[in-house]
């Protein structure tokens, strides 16, 4: 070694003791996150998974993302010997029991969102005193007060009150009940200010512990909290008397002590004790932080507030410790809000500022490797090289001096490699290559431009072992070199060599081995080429790197997982080249990649790839056809999961022989074993936290989450929903899926957006379904449902339609009946008139006629004049009878057809002309037979006809009469021709007969044409609309 030129500046720091076990990492929820106050008195988890916090100034509900506050106050009084704290206990049927300010017992109905104060229980008239503590199960409700214990039997509704004075053996230790615990044997442990009294399942006193009859109370052990661990041992916290322990085999409590120097102080004030499912006992103290004892390892850890560590406990006064449904532990502190621990927070080990000594470089990690003895080497940017031993309990940071004076930024370690001899190769940016002995940590050799063992460049981006002493190094300006750690450069490839040995550019960014004889070289801008390490020939696989990712694309990292070479770029996503098929693929954020800048790609055995990006760490399980890559192929982890930060660095990645993955970034180094990553014990469940109807929150908005069914009117058809994921620890990478059944069946991938909206939903019944997962594409997450029924307006209901139909039918029927009855009425009137004429007038006229005839016969001969008069009477009566007959005929509905009119016309002609010996012919069109004539038409038609016939009979002296009745369209034509006297058509205007004919014809838009020549007969043409 050229020791004369090497000046090593080593800053060795004293050992720093940290517990070997990974320390618990806490997440905080404080007043800035929406909590109503930073003193959290009690905590409870409801059946859905919401976590409730009681504070002095409000009741809080937390869904993992958002806090909802209810107005309710709680006591927060703590003294070294006792305390009075509000309580929250989840009951059945969406009930939370509360002990609010002043020891008031209340029931909170989550669905109705109503508080109900309880002053009495059951049928008992006893007014309850202030309540200290409560325990509720199916059989009993126990209320601990300062005046003894109250036991309420749910079944019998009976209230029992036990005090010190109650006759029992043993008797109650003290009237002041401070806490109640139920053990695995279903026994109730009443914690008093003077030891413990145990009740059996029925509520009978069976045992007493830690009782003191000291009247001064100085030796009394005031008990505050208790838990029973998985093994069945009891852990008891007290006010100022330390922690007690009762093994399940022994029937007494002893002060808890542990081998080793770390102890829980004897005067500790304990406010909360909890035994979790992993064998840990959590002891929350007032003023001394948190103790966690692992029952299996008997290791005690002590957590206190550390303002430098964002993941430490937030406050040293702990008031309550509770479990949630997903294995998480929640701690309420008296001033520091809520601390949340979940084993998923410890998926990633972390080295950062918070857990390494102050002078140790741990930020801006640029390279990492491990050595054969488990030591960890961490290169940083401008802060030197940090080493920590296998136990991670000693740290040292090396700073290497510049190889020549005037060099700035010489402390950037950008590549690290540990060779088979155990020597550590240190590649710097601008300060050459150093080789260290990993045990002595002395520089063995150093290469840089101008040195005896010269290196053509001062920046070494990447290294890849070639043989026991030789390593390929990729430089920034001098291409690729094969270095022997003793001899220096033995082979160099640059952009100026012969064909087959020439590189496309000198800036070599990444190297990865594909097989014994092939190395893949990644260039800064020129894509990748292959090097045969036996023949030293460069092969260009012609990967269209620039075409895929753009001409200016910068390569960041390479990874080989047969048959793919994976290329990570700066801002241009991921490129895959299949060496067998020569196909290439380009995967970017569009295909679900969390970020387009890929700093490192580490292959996991099962075909999985891990990538560090500018948006956290992600795992990628490539699909069979890379073209089908979607978000569901990626799982993302972020700082919320305990990673150093969401931004990582180039070159800062390494997989050790024992499959531990190391990825470094701007704030430190994260370490994990992919196979050991933990998820929640229960699948995360989504909840619908808010519903807005027509852009207005529902009346009782916060109770929405407990609803199973929602009834809305047809006007309430614009809905929006907000969701929360219960049981997921990294809210920023929660993926929500939702759908509204009966509206669509496809799951809608909402990404991290916890909101869905629907507008103008038609009336009907729908089911809103939501699920949440941390892994996009995990379709097995449990589904949360809300049934929504939008009721149709009454005019669109079936019963209304039926009613309308009936109404219309009814109305039509009524109209029909009315019309019929009208017709019947007309008919009845007609019939009555006909009947009256028939009976009375007809008979009377006949009688007149008969009497006239009789008179005529009885007259003595010679009374010619009187005979004439009597004959006139008979004629008048006859005419009147005929007129009457015509009227009766015309009003009879059975004569409505033209056929009937025609028959009467024919008959009339017969009666008149046959008696007068006039020859006549009557022609009638057959087709009009069924044509209808109304009463008026019928009457006018017949009377016109009759007038003409009578005129012929009386005046014409005709011997031949021709009658034609025809129908032309809707005109009725009557032509009557005779061969009689004829008359002067101009001289007849004073006669009524013709006038009447014209008047009647005019009434029906008709015409009357009379042609007559004296001595040659007459033709009358009547035409009318019928």
């Amino acid at each position: 070694m050229q020791s004369r030129i090497i000046i090593l500046l080593m800053i060795l720091l004293p050992c720093f003791a940290v517990a070997q076990q990974t320390p618990f990492s806490f997440r905080k929820l404080g007043i800035n996150d929406g909590l109503s106050q930073s003193s959290v008195i009690d905590i409870a988890t409801d059946s859905l998974g919401f976590v409730w916090f009681a504070t002095q100034d409000g009741l809080n509900r937390f869904d993992g993302k958002e806090v909802v506050v209810y107005r309710k106050t709680f006591d927060d009084v703590t003294t070294p010997v006792s305390s009075r704290l509000g309580k929250l206990v989840c009951g059945e049927d969406h009930i939370i029991w509360l002990i609010s300010t002043g020891g008031r017992l209340e029931k909170f109905n989550l669905i109705r969102e109503q508080f109900e104060a309880i002053h009495r229980l059951g049928n008992d008239s006893t007014l309850l005193p202030a309540v200290n503590c409560i325990y509720n199960d199916k059989a009993l409700l126990l209320l601990g007060t300062a005046q003894g214990i109250y036991l309420y039997h749910h079944r019998t509704k009976q209230l029992n009150h036990i005090t010190v004075d109650t006759l029992a053996e043993p008797h109650l230790n003290s009237n002041n009940i401070q806490a109640i615990h139920k053990d695995h044997f279903q026994h109730y442990w009443l914690l008093t200010d003077n030891g413990i009294t145990v009740l059996d399942t029925a509520g009978k006193i069976i045992q007493s512990f830690l009782y003191s009859n000291d009247p001064d109370k100085t030796t009394w052990i005031s008990c505050s909290a208790m838990a029973q661990d998985n093994e069945g041992n009891y852990w008891l916290g007290t006010y100022g008397k330390g922690v007690f322990y009762k093994s399940k085999e022994v029937n007494s409590f002893i002060t808890f002590k542990i081998t080793g120097n770390k102890q829980i102080p004897q005067n500790t004030v304990t406010e909360a004790v909890l035994a979790d499912d992993n064998g840990n006992v959590w002891i929350g103290t007032y003023g001394d932080g948190l103790y966690v004892l692992n029952a299996a390892t008997h290791k005690l850890q002590h957590y206190t507030a550390d303002y430098n560590n964002p993941f430490s406990l937030s406050y040293n006064d702990i008031l309550s410790i509770k479990k949630d449904n997903y294995g998480g532990i929640w701690l309420g502190t008296d001033g520091g809000g809520v601390n949340h621990y979940d084993k998923r927070f410890n998926n990633f080990d972390l080295l950062n500022k918070s857990n390494v000594p102050e002078n140790i470089a741990i930020q801006q990690v640029r390279s990492v490797t491990t050595d054969s003895s488990g030591g960890l080497w961490i290169g940083t940017s401008n802060l030197g090289l940090t080493y920590t031993n296998a136990a991670r309990d000693s740290f040292v940071t090396f700073h290497f001096p510049p190889y020549q004076a005037g060099l700035s930024n010489y402390d950037r370690i950008v590549s690290l490699l540990c060779d088979n001899d155990g020597d550590v190769w240190v590649g710097t940016q601008g300060n050459g290559l150093l080789i260290l002995n990993h045990q002595t940590q002395q520089i063995k050799n150093r290469f840089y431009p101008g040195a005896a063992a010269a290196l053509p460049d001062h920046t070494i981006w990447c290294m890849l072992p070639h043989s026991a002493t030789q390593v390929w190094i990729g430089t920034r300006n001098a291409g690729l070199c094969l270095m022997d750690k003793n001899k220096g450069v033995i082979k160099q490839f640059t952009n100026t060599g012969n064909e087959g040995e020439r590189l496309p550019e000198n800036n070599v960014r990444a190297l990865v081995r594909m097989d014994d004889s092939t190395v893949c070289i990644g260039f800064d801008k020129a894509g990748v080429q292959l090097l045969n390490t036996r023949t030293f020939k460069i092969i260009n696989p012609n990967i269209p790197f620039g075409q895929l990712a753009g001409e200016q694309a910068v390569l960041k990292t390479l990874c080989y997982q047969p048959p793919y070479i994976w290329i990570g770029t700066l801002g241009r996503g991921l490129i895959a080249w299949n060496e067998k098929t020569n196909n290439t693929y380009w995967i970017t954020e569009k295909q679900g990649l969390p970020n387009n800048t890929i700093y490192s790609i580490i292959p996991e055995k099962k075909g999985m790839l891990w990538m560090s990006t500018n948006n956290g760490l992600c795992s990628f399980l490539p699909p069979v056809n890379l073209h089908h890559t979607t978000a569901s192929n990626f799982s993302r982890y972020t700082a919320e999961d305990g990673l150093q930060s969401n931004e990582f660095n180039t070159g800062a990645h390494y997989m050790s022989g024992d499959s531990v993955f190391y990825v470094g970034g701007i704030s430190g180094l994260s370490m994990f074993k992919p196979s050991k990553l933990l998820n929640a014990s229960l699948p995360a469940k989504a909840a619908i936290t808010h519903i807005q109807v027509n852009n207005q929150p529902m009346e009782s908005d916060t109770a929405d989450v407990y609803k199973k069914i929602l009834h809305l009117s047809y006007q309430q058809n614009s809905l929006s929903f907000s969701f929360a994921a219960l049981g997921l620890v990294s809210q920023s990478r929660v993926h929500y899926y939702y759908r509204l059944l009966n509206y669509g069946t496809k799951w809608i991938d909402a990404g991290n957006r916890n909101y869905a909206a629907y507008t103008n939903l038609p009336p009907g019944s729908y089911t809103m379904q939501v699920k949440a997962t941390n892994n996009a594409g995990n379709t097995n997450a449990p589904i949360t449902e809300l049934n929504i029924i939008i009721h149709p307006p009454f005019w669109r209901t079936w019963w209304f339609a039926a009613l309308c139909t009936f109404a219309v039918i009814g109305l039509l029927y009524a109209l029909y009946r009315y019309r019929i009855s009208q017709l019947l009425h007309v008919q009845q009137t007609r019939n009555r008139i006909a009947s009256d004429l028939h009976d009375d007038i007809g008979s009377t006229l006949t009688n007149i006629s008969l009497l006239a005839e009789l008179s005529r016969k009885k007259l003595p001969p010679g009374n010619e004049e009187a005979t004439l008069f009597l004959k006139r009477i008979s004629e008048e009566v006859q005419q009147f009878s005929q007129a009457l007959d015509d009227i009766v005929w015309s009003i009879n509905t059975s004569n409505d057809t033209l056929e009937q009119t025609a028959a009467r016309m024919r008959r009339y002609a017969g009666e008149i002309f046959e008696g007068a010996n006039i020859n006549y012919s009557l022609f009638m069109d057959e087709p009009f037979a069924q044509h209808k004539l109304n009463m008026e038409q019928r009457r006018d038609c017949f009377l016109m006809y009759k007038e003409v016939i009578n005129n012929i009979y009386k005046h014409a002296n005709a011997t031949e009469v021709n009658i034609r009745v025809t129908m032309n369209k809707n005109h009725l034509n009557i032509i009557i021709q005779d061969n009689g006297n004829g008359f002067d058509t101009n001289s007849i205007t004073h006669r009524n007969g013709v006038k009447n004919i014209r008047r009647r014809a005019a009434k029906w838009n008709g015409t009357v044409l009379i042609e007559s020549v004296k001595g040659k007969g007459t033709t009358v043409q009547i035409s009318m609309v019928a």
Binding site: H838, S843, T844, L850, L854, Q878, D885, R906, R907
Partner: protein, 208 residues
């Protein structure tokens, strides 16, 4: 021997005038009644040649009266004395066995001719009644053996169109009296087909 006549007419004055007129002209009016509740007895006792029967009368109507008379004395010819010849009631009377009808408006001078004509079998028939007879026989065609002959049907068809007997005789190119005898037969068949069974039986024997 003058024909004996019984009158049923509820109009008292008309009845008196008619009785007087008939008696004066050589008929023997054996009785005149304002209602026909005793019609059976009267027919049996007097056995009149002719009964003039009004249709609308208080109590028992002329329709029932026709039946009563025909039941007790089928030989008596019943002539309905009516104002209106197209009345449904008139048709029912004809069905019930009436031999013809006489219109009240018939001038007294022609009254006796009309009675004689009816008695001789020249039964009058209006177009509407002819139509009704036709449709009656159309519906009863299947069950009755006394169907109308083709000739009779033809006569009825002409009648329903308003043709007089004279005109029908001309149209059908047959004698006036042949048309009248067709009409008489039609009446008989009508009685048998539509009247009460007892009368029908009694009357049916006269047809064949």
């Amino acid at each position: 021997m003058p024909a004996s006549i019984v009158l049923f007419e509820d109009n008292d004055r008309l009845r008196e005038s008619l009785t007087y007129l008939l008696n004066m002209n050589g008929y023997t009016v054996m009785g005149s009644y304002g209602q026909c509740s005793e019609a059976s007895l009267i027919a049996r006792v007097y056995k009149p040649d002719v009964v003039l029967m009004d249709i609308d009368m208080p109590g028992i109507s002329g329709i029932a009266g026709v039946q009563m008379i025909k039941e007790s004395n089928p030989d008596t010819a019943v002539i309905m004395y009516t104002v209106f010849e197209d009345d449904e009631k008139l048709f029912q009377c004809l069905c019930a066995g009436a031999n013809g009808y006489l219109l009240k408006k018939t001038p007294p001078a022609k009254l006796f001719d009309a009675i004689n004509e009816v008695l001789e079998g020249g039964a009058p028939m209006s177009p509407i009644i002819a139509q009704k007879v036709l449709s009656t026989f159309r519906t009863k065609q299947e069950v009755n053996k006394y169907n109308l002959s083709l000739r009779e049907k033809e006569v009825l068809q002409w009648l329903s169109k308003g043709y007089s007997i004279k005109m029908i005789a001309t149209e059908m190119d047959i004698a006036f009296d042949t048309v009248r005898s067709h009409l008489k037969n039609i009446y008989q068949k009508l009685h048998v087909n539509c009247g009460k069974e007892a009368i029908a039986k009694a009357l049916s024997e006269r047809i064949v």
